[in-house]
């Protein structure tokens, strides 16, 4: 077993003639919280799509716990222990919050496509959903339709779907995008709690959040990782300041 949760080797992806991911190398160590930053359009979401199986890479390797997963369908990758959230909220809009979460825990609890017992009788599902609702602070909304939730609540549910599947490796794509300052603080606390003991790779723009939560940071610019290191190293890296932060002192502004 490798010490790395995810290892990406020379990963490439092009859409037609356009190269979007241009030879990415990245390691997510087991148990670390790793932030992925980079300007808009750098290819962060595309990289997540490649890892999670939404897109097929053009070339390169992706190892999850040492096992190759590139090009596999999303469900297989979930079974191998990786799950993700989406930048654009991707939930089940016409189902209740509880039903959303039930779907997300069914696989890990082994019920899969069962028709043997009604959901109401599946104690383990109910217990797990109750726990998740509590954790996501959505208990009071359990029977609300997902599309009637407020934006931060929908983001919490989006996060919930990702963590509920029980995978030990998580990819979160801008989980706090579009939130107010106070909502961000609450969301960060939530993320720290639910990802306890798991490996986390997260796209985030808010520098304050990143320097608070990340063990390491990778910087993706134009489809390439130009630097990886601790927050201090990244802060001090002149190439990062040049390419990403624009001016040498931009981080003060963040």
């Amino acid at each position: 077993m490798s010490a790395n949760a995810i290892e990406i080797r020379d990963l490439r992806k092009s859409f037609g003639p356009v190269d979007i991911i241009r030879g990415v190398n990245l390691e997510l160590r087991a148990g670390e919280r790793h932030a992925l930053i980079g300007p808009n359009g750098a290819g962060k979401s595309t990289l997540f799509h490649l890892i999670s199986g939404r897109l097929r890479p053009t070339s390169g390797k992706i190892l999850l716990h040492g096992q190759e997963i590139q090009g596999k369908p999303p469900a297989r990758i979930v079974h191998a222990g990786l799950s993700r959230s989406f930048q654009i909220t991707n939930i089940f809009p016409e189902m209740t919050v509880l039903e959303n979460l039930r779907c997300a825990v069914l696989w890990k609890l082994g019920h899969r496509y069962s028709v043997l017992r009604p959901l109401g009788r599946l104690r383990d599902v109910e217990a797990e959903c109750t726990r998740l609702l509590e954790e996501l602070r959505l208990t009071h909304r359990r029977t609300s339709r997902a599309d009637s939730l407020s934006y931060p609540e929908q983001r919490a549910l989006e996060l919930g779907l990702a963590v509920a599947s029980g995978a030990d490796t998580l990819l979160l794509d801008e989980p706090m995008a579009g939130m107010s300052h106070s909502e961000t603080a609450a969301a960060l606390e939530l993320i720290m709690a639910v990802t306890e003991g798991r490996s986390l790779l997260m796209v985030e723009h808010d520098m304050g959040v990143i320097f608070e939560m990340a063990d390491r940071i990778s910087v993706l610019v134009y489809g390439e990782v130009i630097a990886t290191g601790t927050p201090e190293e990244i802060r001090a890296n002149p190439a990062v300041q040049e390419a990403y932060l624009g001016t040498p002192n931009a981080e003060e502004a963040a």
């Binding site: 469900a75 089940f92 016409e94 069962s114 009604p118």
Partner: protein
Amino acid sequence: MTMNAIETARSRPGQTLLPATLPWAAVIAVLFILPLAFPGTAMVSTLNYLGTMAIFALSYNVLLGQTGLLSLGHATFFGLGGFIATHALLGMAEAGWAFPLPLLPLIGGLGAFVLGIFGGWLASGKGGMPFAMITLGLSELVYAAAAIFPSIYGSEEGVSMDRMELGSSFGMDYGSATDIYVIVAVWFVICAAGLKYFTTTPLGLLANAVRDNAERVEFLGFSARRVRMWTYAIAAGVAGIAGSLAAINFEIITVIELGAATSTLVLLMTYIGGTRVFFGPVLGAVVIGLMKVWLSDLTPAWMLYFGLLFIFVVMVAPGGLAGILVGAGAMIRAGRLGPQLPLLAAIGGLGLLSLAGVIMLIELGYRAGLDAALGSQIRILGLPMDAHGLNSWGLAALLALGGALSIRPLLSRLETLQHRLGLKGGDPA
């Protein structure tokens, strides 16, 4: 307008006022009363037909309402179930087996279920348009194959049977329509309960998830294709039961039962009844079934009325008849119907006037065209009219157009009122 009320109602499943068993007791009670209230072979035969179609529509809604799949060939399994049951009966009767007739739908249903697994495997790769197209293609294939295999499908006149050939069982000899009613009623309860149960299982929930967001399901570890395939097979199996019952009821099965017309019929029934309420399709099957039985005696235009009703539901009340009822019920419970009553009554009245105008136009049209040979004089809604008379056409057009135009301002006032009452949220767009 009513959509929002439905959603509110749906979003509070925990707050149902009645215990879950009460509707079922009501269903069973109604099934007991019906043949007593409508005695006579013709009536009971109609009830048998309605029950069969109700099961068929419930099975279709597993696809349309629960999984969000538009099948254009569901009658394939209704018809194949009927053929399988018929051939099973013929074979067993010849072999002299004492197989109880009420269990025959089990054979048709199982056969259709197995074929459904195969068909589902073919059709389920994608949802949406590709699914609709594959189901259309498969059903046309099966239909066209009928001409090639007369030994299975019979020729033009189909395959007939004598349901009494299997002998008596459960104290019935199955000669009378009432005996068949018992079979249909019991199977209706079994199928409805089974499908209701199915909605509460993990697979049933995943079907909803596939309907809402098939891609996300994959990222939770499931294969949307598998979910579609199994729901397709289940729907096929129950349709096969319905088809077997139809075969038993009519003692004949023809290729029409597995053709496009029958597929269309079940789609209309299910959608008009309402796809988001469990018993909606039953309501649709009863309403459309009765229209088919009674209206076809009254007017040559009954198919046209069907089509117009369907378009009306699609455009104005996508929740179907059941959606309207549930919405109204929710409003009453919330005590918000009162203030709307005068407006609703006015709209309803004008709507009826307009409807009368449309009916006159259509009936006059038939008399002027298709049925011109019957003479131009005709009684429509009790009024003597003339298909060649300007007055008749003028009155009809006036009612239809005048009613429709005068409703429009009232509708926008109703909308404002519902806004004020908090029944309507912001624009969903």
